[in-house]
């Protein structure tokens, strides 16, 4: 198979294991490309991509933009903070106006879950979801699982614990889907207030004690506390959260076994993870960032092949 089953990348839920493996194989090649003296290929030179960000982002946006430029695509950037959205334009109108300027693909981040799915029903261009509210963040899950595959040889059969604010995390949901499709065992761990009530129905284990979770897992994916999405208090204080759920190097070294530590960023050092753990040899946080560009190149390349 050399073609994705979908025209869009809206979520990991919609794609197959074969799709994920095709993206990984293609990303292997792009990883070689971005480590060359000239880190650029002309594949997408006749493709125009709009990065439409209705919500703030640094890493994802930079990573997408770099991936697009490494593929020689033409790139336009749009952010809601300085646009007509403020003047009352609807999402569909905004995007249709961008498409009228002959744009082939849309990379979109939006605060509302399902926004890219809605768009996919109304427009022709390929859409890549760069995060929709608390729903999915497919490219993050792809780069996370790709990084696990790179470090441990494969994802299948590995035990992965996702630790932290599961309730507000699109990274958690996409990771659960991706890991399960690739045959990994998944556990979520966090304070009861930050775990969705019916998370067990997704077939994941639930653990409230972070030490037990670490004891169990091969990989710990530590998530950020998303204070910006929390309208009420879910735990007494950040200090208390850090005390019970923060990962530090001492905990990792007491385990007597290697645990790979991941974090999708941005890190709140000293809250969910301490500096000595984030910068330890256990950590593959910066590999994740590097792999992010290769994964996004692969996704854009494969989607561009199905206009």
């Amino acid at each position: 198979m050399s073609k994705l089953s979908q025209k869009h990348l809206l979520g990991i839920k919609d794609i197959t294991r074969d799709d994920i493996e095709l993206i990984f194989e293609t990303a292997d090649n792009f990883k070689e490309v971005i480590n060359r003296p000239i880190r650029k290929v002309p594949s997408l030179r006749d493709v125009t991509i709009a990065n439409v960000f209705f919500e703030n982002s640094t890493r994802t946006r930079l990573s997408f933009e770099l991936a697009e430029k490494r593929l020689s695509a033409d790139v336009i950037n749009f952010s809601a903070s300085n646009s007509s959205v403020k003047k009352g334009e609807t999402l569909l109108d905004t995007v249709n106006n961008i498409l009228a300027m002959k744009v082939d693909m849309i990379v979109m981040r939006h605060a509302s879950p399902g926004a890219p799915h809605y768009l996919a029903r109304h427009i022709d261009a390929n859409i890549v979801n760069a995060g929709d509210g608390t729903h999915e963040h497919p490219t993050q899950a792809l780069l996370d699982t790709y990084s696990i595959r790179e470090r441990l040889g494969s994802v299948s059969g590995k035990k992965v614990a996702i630790i932290g604010d599961i309730l507000h995390s699109r990274v958690a949901l996409s990771n659960i889907f991706a890991l399960q499709k690739l045959g990994a065992k998944v556990m979520v761990c966090g304070p009861p207030t930050l775990l969705p009530k019916f998370i067990g129905q997704l077939g994941v284990q639930v653990e409230l004690d972070v030490r037990k979770a670490l004891q169990w897992c091969d990989v710990a994916n530590v998530l950020r506390i998303q204070l910006e999405r929390q309208q009420i208090k879910y735990f007494p204080s950040l200090r208390e959260y850090s005390l019970y759920y923060g990962i530090n190097r001492k905990m990792l070294e007491e385990l007597q076994k290697p645990v790979v530590v991941m974090h999708p960023g941005p890190i709140n050092r000293g809250v969910e993870i301490s500096s000595d753990a984030a910068d330890s040899p256990h950590s593959i946080i910066l590999d994740q960032v590097e792999n992010g560009v290769a994964i996004r190149m692969a996704v854009l390349y494969l989607l561009a092949a199905r206009p």
Partner: protein, 180 residues
Amino acid sequence: MQKKLILDSNLLDITVSRLCQQLIENHNTFSDTVIIGMQPRGIFLAELIHTKLEKHIKRDIPLGYLDVTFHRDDFRRRDEPILPKENRIPFIIEEKNVVLVDDVLFTGRTVRAAMDALIAFGRPAKVELLVMIDRKYNRELPIAPDYVGRTVNTMASQRVLVELQAQGHKQNKIWLINKD
């Protein structure tokens, strides 16, 4: 489907030997020359020539593989994308003489892509092209090989099939196939 044998095992061996002699004639001791096989099928021929050359020259000659998928000009014009293969050029090509090796030269578009892909790795002093089969009258670009195993007059509807032992075939053979 009709198959016609263009080169059998014996003849192919003689041809490879002749190509090696021509290369030695031009590149002498191969001190500044590298061989690069084009993915996916050119690499087997490149390996064949490389092994033979090293026997003659009695020194190591750098051998690499080049994949041109990302540099093709027909991306988004085909129904399915071509899956890329491995690039392996573990040496510097800057100021080197590069011999590009492929099994069949047809429209010349792959070779154009290869030259494009190659300069992403540096600026070679000279690039030459070696092909086992040159399909005459089918070129779409002004590209000509420097070393040719066999020139064949073909129609666009025909296909050249290269079977090498390195690819898992019993014998080295090259066929011309008529598609009905």
